[in-house]
């Protein structure tokens, strides 16, 4: 008995230790240190002073020095904008993916597999290149303005470095994230319901909202979470398509670490991001549990 159990224990230890080592030492520990940093005083030339310094968080909210006197909401505005843009991105990806998911689910099997291949493919291609494509399209001498010019419209429109550009970019790169879970829940629907939805006339609009949409809600919720989280903390999209005009939390964090060298403040911003993500996840788990309780 003891040798059998002992050998199993040893095997288990061997299987667990590599991942435990990497994740423990290089994931958990760095996060703990980051949390610590967020409460330290920034040093003069980068670096930190080892004093407890809660004002990093005050600064996030608009009071830079703890005296609560000069309210400067510049960071708060960026944070709120990040939430706004992430929420709109979720809405846009949903708008784009939801009807397409219905259409794909109704196709014959071969066509369906081909469509799934087309939707998965961008996930395998470089993110930076997919964003670069939009730089090409949106910039002042880009595809859209050149096309307009060729059509004889001589007033170039300013597209890049706007919130719209950031939203287009984020929607574009996060489409597969939304499509997969939504499609999974649509495919599970009863075929007859799908056919009913295909027959949706104006008079049946309500039956869609009352029956079909609620049934796909779990997929919508899952997709929303996995689009919202990376949107909120994104800094590549605002940096390429938003420029200096449209900053998001991610851009701020990057600035603090690579330009302003105020690491504690950057860490505080990152903490904020992390807490927001955790709250999202907890809400999701709670909603799921409530759903389960409702069913059983």
């Amino acid at each position: 008995m003891s040798t059998l159990e002992g050998r199993k224990r040893l095997q288990l230890l061997g299987l667990l230790s590599p991942a435990t080592f990497v994740i423990g030492l290089f994931f958990i520990a760095p996060l703990v240190i980051m949390a610590t940093y967020s409460m330290l005083e920034p040093g003069l030339y980068g670096g930190v002073e080892w004093n407890f310094y809660p004002d990093n968080f005050g600064r996030v909210l608009g009071w830079a020095d703890g005296t609560l006197e000069e309210f400067d909401p510049v960071y708060l505005e960026i944070i709120l904008r990040s939430f706004k843009l992430a929420a709109i991105t979720v809405f846009l990806t949903l708008l784009v993916c939801y009807p397409a998911a219905f259409w794909v689910a109704r196709q014959p099997e071969k066509m369906r597999n081909f469509c799934m291949f087309l939707i998965t493919l961008p996930f395998f291609t470089s993110l930076i290149i997919r964003l670069y494509a939009w730089v090409l399209i949106l910039r002042p001498s880009g595809f859209i303005n050149t096309t307009l010019l060729a059509l004889g419209i001589n007033t170039p429109i300013n597209l890049i470095y706007t919130e719209t550009a950031v939203l287009i970019g984020m929607t574009y790169i996060f489409i597969p994230f939304m499509f997969m879970p939504v499609y999974a829940s649509v495919e599970k629907l009863d075929r007859r319901l799908l056919e009913a939805s295909a027959d949706l006339g104006a008079s049946r609009w309500q039956s869609f909202w009352k029956i079909i949409f609620p049934m796909t809600l779990p997929g919508v919720a899952a997709g929303s979470i996995i689009v919202f989280i990376p949107s909120l903390g994104n800094f590549i999209v605002p940096s390429l398509l938003g420029g200096a005009q449209v900053l998001m939390i991610g851009s701020l964090v990057e600035q603090q670490f690579l330009a302003a060298r105020n690491w504690p403040f950057g860490a505080a911003l990152a903490m904020l991001l992390m807490v927001a993500v955790l709250i999202c996840l907890i809400l999701n788990v709670l909603a799921q549990n409530r759903n389960k309780a409702g069913v059983s």
Binding site: K8, Q11, L12, L15, L16, P18, A19, V22, I23, F26, F27, P30, L31, M34, V96, P99, A100, W103, V104, C115, T120, L121, P122, F124, T125, S126, L127, I128, I129, Y132, A133, W134, L136, I137, R139, S141, F143, T146, Y172, I175, A198, D199, L200, G201, I229, P230, L232, G233, F235, I236, S239, L240, G250, V253, F257, A267, A270, L273, M274, V277
Partner: protein, 286 residues
């Protein structure tokens, strides 16, 4: 009336979906098309096809005459590619082993910390890149480890282990545990069972996980951006820098080559997945 509406509705849905796929692929197609545009002044105005930008990418002479100015950048590009490949291959090896081990431990053993590990393995995937990136930056600077290939490999492993874990776990969950029991029942030692039964059956999952890890590692920008050193610029970081410095036609050529490479990898990956025999559960329940 009703059927007319229905047909109209279906037509609208089809049109919408067509637009969806165009939206998905038009931007990519534009890059490829314009990478062959010979116009050096405005790359958006078509001026005839040429391979100039591919030539200049590899330091070959082109119709612009001297190619000296590009030679340097092509060296850097190749260096970045080498760095990326080194990192992606090391990362793939480490995270595939660690992720598969963890998946086996959670699927085939019973122990007290199981619930904890399940949550833990999800965390790195859900953490925003940028948070992980700066946390690692602070950590490496704090312990005095120089930023370079090693730090990037470690950084990638922290979250790619989770991806491999997830893919392999799904495969293990789809596998009938009776097969392993049957093997033991016929006299095979646990090691023999693993080699002859478990490993061959989860291999598609392990390969899939490894492929995923490789692709994500090759493509990672955010985390790498924070923890790469001077001599360890990866391909995405390099391209990111190029785009920030200004748009040059060469970028189109690089992008097209990368797109082709990733399409090939994706096709291979999806082919492997479709080729999986109708194994495990289906035919044992028949």
């Amino acid at each position: 009336m009703n059927s007319l509406l229905a047909r109209l509705g279906r037509g609208l849905l089809g049109g919408y979906s067509l637009a969806f796929f165009i939206f998905l692929y038009l931007p990519i197609a534009l890059i490829v098309v314009y990478s062959f545009n010979s116009n050096p002044i405005n790359m958006m105005i078509w001026n005839g096809a040429s391979l100039d930008w591919y030539r200049s990418l590899f330091g070959l002479s082109n119709s612009l005459g001297s190619s000296k100015m590009y030679v340097e950048s092509s060296d850097q590009l190749l260096a970045a590619l080498r760095t990326s490949l080194t990192i992606a291959l090391s990362t793939t090896a480490i995270s595939t082993v660690a992720g598969t081990f963890m998946a086996l431990a959670l699927a085939r053993y019973r122990f007290r910390l199981q619930g904890f590990y399940r949550v833990l393995m999800f965390m790195p995937m859900l953490m925003p890149d940028i948070v992980l990136g700066i946390a690692l930056l602070i950590f490496f600077v704090g312990i005095g480890m120089p930023l370079g290939k090693a730090s990037i490999i470690i950084g990638h492993c922290t979250f790619l282990i989770s991806y491999v874990f997830l893919v392999v776990s799904a495969r293990l969950a789809g596998m009938d545990t009776r097969l392993e029991e049957a093997s033991a029942d016929l006299g095979a030692s646990p090691m023999h069972t693993f080699r002859r039964i478990t490993l061959p059956l989860i291999l598609p999952g392990v390969i899939g996980g490894a492929l995923l890890a490789f692709i994500i590692s090759m493509d990672d920008l955010v985390i790498t951006y924070f923890i790469s050193g001077v001599d360890s610029t990866t391909l995405p970081v390099y391209i990111y820098g190029m785009i920030r410095r200004g748009i040059k036609p060469e970028i189109n050529a690089i992008a097209t080559l990368l797109l082709i490479a990733s399409f090939i990898i994706a096709a291979v990956g999806l082919y492997l997945r479709s080729r999986q025999p109708a194994t495990t559960k289906e035919d044992t329940h028949g």
